[in-house]
């Protein structure tokens, strides 16, 4: 039991931090532009695919550096020539634009790389078990993912709170007009933050590609979860996004690891039920089974009872 909890905890944190890498960019973009970028997870997918192609020719490490930069550039172009243009039609049009972009990027990825799963593997240097605990291996690559995520988190925090650029970004988020009056190029800041947010998603894609698989559906799998995180944490709150990422990461891994069902509960309470009734699916529900719907359940509950999210202070 103890090793189960230990490994679930570790895996949960790895997943949570990975999710945070996506959620942080999404939240920053949302606080600036008031637009939830539906295509955010698509940039994550682009990161994985670009890194895959680069890793074939130049190796994993070059991909780790170059792919996020490329993704960031694509993101900046999308902001400059797409989103900024659509802005004139209002928020709903912007939301629909990013939705259409997500659809389009998925099609483009399928067009360029095909529909099958790509054999994008972790570098050989990292293909060994880091330690063995109660007979279970903990792969070194997961530790590497953990390290990169924490590194990026710390860097982001330092840049946002300590540097001059971070100050301007924060100012542009809260009072864009005033910041522009003071002589800062706010549209450029927007473009930069959008690009960096996409690049962060790209990094997440590069390191998650080998672990979670590189296939055209990978954006959809993660995309809605990232929304859930951003909304649960509170739209526009980085702290909230961090906490919510960890909650969702842990929730998902623990729900899969702990194999309990309603049936067990009923047995404990000495209640038996008719095995043929129409509600039989309800009685035999197990925790791993409902793991995929838990985040959405949480989302709906949060939106009903606390629409600002856990740490948010605004409702849109």
């Amino acid at each position: 039991m103890f090793e189960l909890i230990f490994f679930s905890l570790l895996n949960g944190i790895v997943t949570g931090l990975l999710l945070f890498m996506l959620a942080s960019g999404l939240t920053l973009i949302f606080s600036m532009m008031g637009v939830l970028n539906f295509a955010h997870a698509s940039f994550y997918m682009l990161g994985a695919y670009l890194a895959y192609t680069i890793s074939i020719y130049l190796g994993f490490w070059v991909g780790l550096i170059v792919a996020p930069i490329l993704v960031g550039l694509i993101g900046a172009l999308v902001e400059r020539y797409g989103l900024r243009y659509v802005h004139r039609w209002g928020h709903v049009a912007e939301l629909i634009f990013t939705f259409g972009l997500a659809f389009l990027i998925e099609e483009v990825v399928q067009f360029i790389w095909g529909k099958d799963t790509k054999a994008y593997l972790e570098p050989e240097v990292l293909q060994f078990p880091l330690f063995t605990f109660f007979g279970q291996n903990f792969p070194a690559y997961k530790a590497f993912m953990l390290l990169i995520s924490i590194g990026i988190f710390v860097m982001l925090l330092l840049i946002l709170t300590k540097s001059r650029v971070g100050l301007i970004i924060q100012a542009a988020i809260h009072k864009p007009n005033m910041t522009a009056m003071l002589g800062h190029n706010v549209p450029l800041v927007f473009m930069g933050v959008f690009g960096v947010g996409c690049a962060l998603a790209g990094v997440a894609g590069v390191i998650a590609g080998p672990a979670l698989g590189t296939f055209p559906g990978m954006a959809v799998v993660l995309g809605s979860i990232v929304f859930v995180i951003v909304v649960i944490g509170g739209l526009g709150s980085l702290t909230g996004a961090f906490v919510a990422s960890l909650i969702i990461g842990l929730l998902q891994t623990f729900a899969i690891a702990l194999d309990y069902s309603v049936n067990d509960l009923l047995t404990v309470m000495n209640i038996s039920f008719d095995a043929d009734s129409a509600l039989r699916d309800l009685w035999s529900l197990s925790l791993p089974q409902i793991a995929p719907i838990l985040p959405y359940l949480l989302l709906v509950l949060v939106l009903i009872f606390r629409p600002t999210g856990l740490f948010g202070n605004r409702e849109t």
Partner: protein
């Protein structure tokens, strides 16, 4: 069909035939369609079109008329479908006797029930919160549908048999043509009812809340209640569309209520134009045509649909109907003819440009997808080898020359457009 919008302006005093001319025309068209397109594929496409027309119109009740962007509208469509197919099976088992052609009512009712439940908390706010709740509920339902196998049938879905009900005037729905008339009847009634709803005070207030919720509150309407009413009725009609889907395909699967279907309905409504009543109808027709015809010719039709969608959002936020409606001033001033030549001058190079791009994409796709020794490919009936140079040069020339010529024609088109729409200009117009 674009004239439906015009009945809005119809005066009460005009005679019956003239007042309802659009509806009579719509009715005749629905009746006559199978005689024009009598092939199986034609019927299949038209059946799907009818279902999607109701579905897209119900969606537009939210997005276009109520200002609520939903990413989970397929929930009501799918649940309506599942409910109908279950009732279809009950009828087959003889549990009770019920005419098959009324089945979509059950779909509509379950859509309504779920819309009441979900709408009770989701319609509190429009905008991002509504969009996120709809997305969450949509994902919740899609994930649940794989868990509750007894109702949703798991991965293979639930299937039924539509021919088992008591026949109506000899209709037992064994043939597609009978199903077509069933769907056509439902389409006519639903479109009419949805149009009527948009003219009621409730429908009008939905527009008011969409445009300025605060002001509507000051007039004395609860924005939440107004949205709730639209939301419920929209759920009802989505359920009817789902019921028709169940009758037409005799199978409903998880795919019918997941995010993909929700995305498709958004796509249809938006491409058609959400600001107009007829917009989603046109969108549904165009999308179904693209889906069933384009997919016969190319594997990458979804890529084209994606490009079309993004271009629509960027450059034509009022959709195809919006583009058509832009021509009304010129039409009223009887100057549409003066635009013909400018349209041709810009249109022909643009078509060449697009053909070049499409040819390029198709050839690339073929080179990568086909077996190594298969170098011949056929594009709209033209056979050529992808390993020779000539087709690539042709594609390159089409793209570059077409694109360049189209660009040079933009200014003359703009001039002609301005002249045609200028109310003060000489009525002769300048057809440059």
């Amino acid at each position: 069909m674009s004239e439906i919008a015009k009945t809005a302006a119809a005066e009460n005093s005009v005679p019956f035939v003239k007042r309802y001319a659009v509806w009579i025309g719509f009715f005749i068209m629905l009746m006559a369609m199978p005689f024009i397109f009598s092939s199986n594929i034609g019927l299949y496409t038209m059946n799907l079109m009818g279902i999607f027309i109701i579905f897209a119109l119900s969606y537009n009740m939210l997005l276009g008329q109520g200002g609520m962007l939903s990413f989970g509208h397929a929930v009501y469509f799918g649940l309506g479908g599942f409910m109908s197919v279950h009732f279809m099976n009950y009828i087959e088992d003889g549990a009770f006797i019920f005419p098959m052609w009324l089945l979509p009512i059950f779909g509509g009712l379950i859509g309504l029930v779920f819309a009441i439940i979900i709408g009770s908390f989701s319609t509190r706010k429009a905008g991002t919160v509504f969009a996120m709740i709809s997305l969450g509920v949509g994902e919740l339902m899609a994930a649940s549908s794989l868990i509750f196998v007894a109702f949703f049938g798991g991965e293979e879905g639930v299937s039924g048999d539509r021919t088992m009900g008591p026949p109506l005037f000899g209709f037992d729905f064994a043939q597609d043509i009978q199903v077509y008339y069933l769907i056509a009847a439902w389409v006519f009634v639903s479109v009419f009812l949805m149009y009527l709803f948009s003219r009621t005070p409730a429908g009008r207030m939905a527009n008011a809340v969409r445009d300025n919720a605060e002001r509507a509150e000051f007039v004395g309407y609860s924005q939440r209640k107004v949205r709730f009413v639209s939301f419920c009725i929209s759920g009802f009609f989505a359920g009817i569309a789902g019921g028709l889907f169940a009758i037409n395909f005799e199978i409903v699967t998880e795919e019918n209520l997941n995010a993909l279907t929700s995305g498709v309905v958004l796509l249809m409504a938006f491409i058609g134009g959400v600001g107009f009543f007829v917009g989603p109808i046109i969108g549904a027709v165009v999308f179904t045509l693209l889906q069933s015809i384009l997919s016969n010719y190319t594997d990458i039709w979804q890529l084209y649909v994606g490009v079309l969608f993004v271009l629509t959002v960027m450059y034509a936020p009022h959709g195809l109907t919006g583009i058509m409606m832009m021509h009304t001033p010129a039409f009223k001033m009887k100057r549409l003819g003066s635009l013909l030549v400018p349209y041709l001058r810009i249109g022909i190079p643009t078509v060449c440009f697009m053909a070049g791009i499409a040819g390029f994409l198709e050839s690339i796709h073929h080179v990568r997808g086909a077996p190594v020794d298969e170098t011949m490919m056929s594009l709209i009936g033209i056979e050529f080898s992808t390993h020779s140079v000539t087709p690539w040069i042709v594609i390159f020339l089409l793209t570059v020359v077409g694109g360049y010529l189209a660009k040079t024609q933009v200014s003359q088109f703009k001039d002609a457009w301005d002249t045609a729409n200028d109310p003060n200009a000489d009525s002769e117009g300048a057809s440059s």
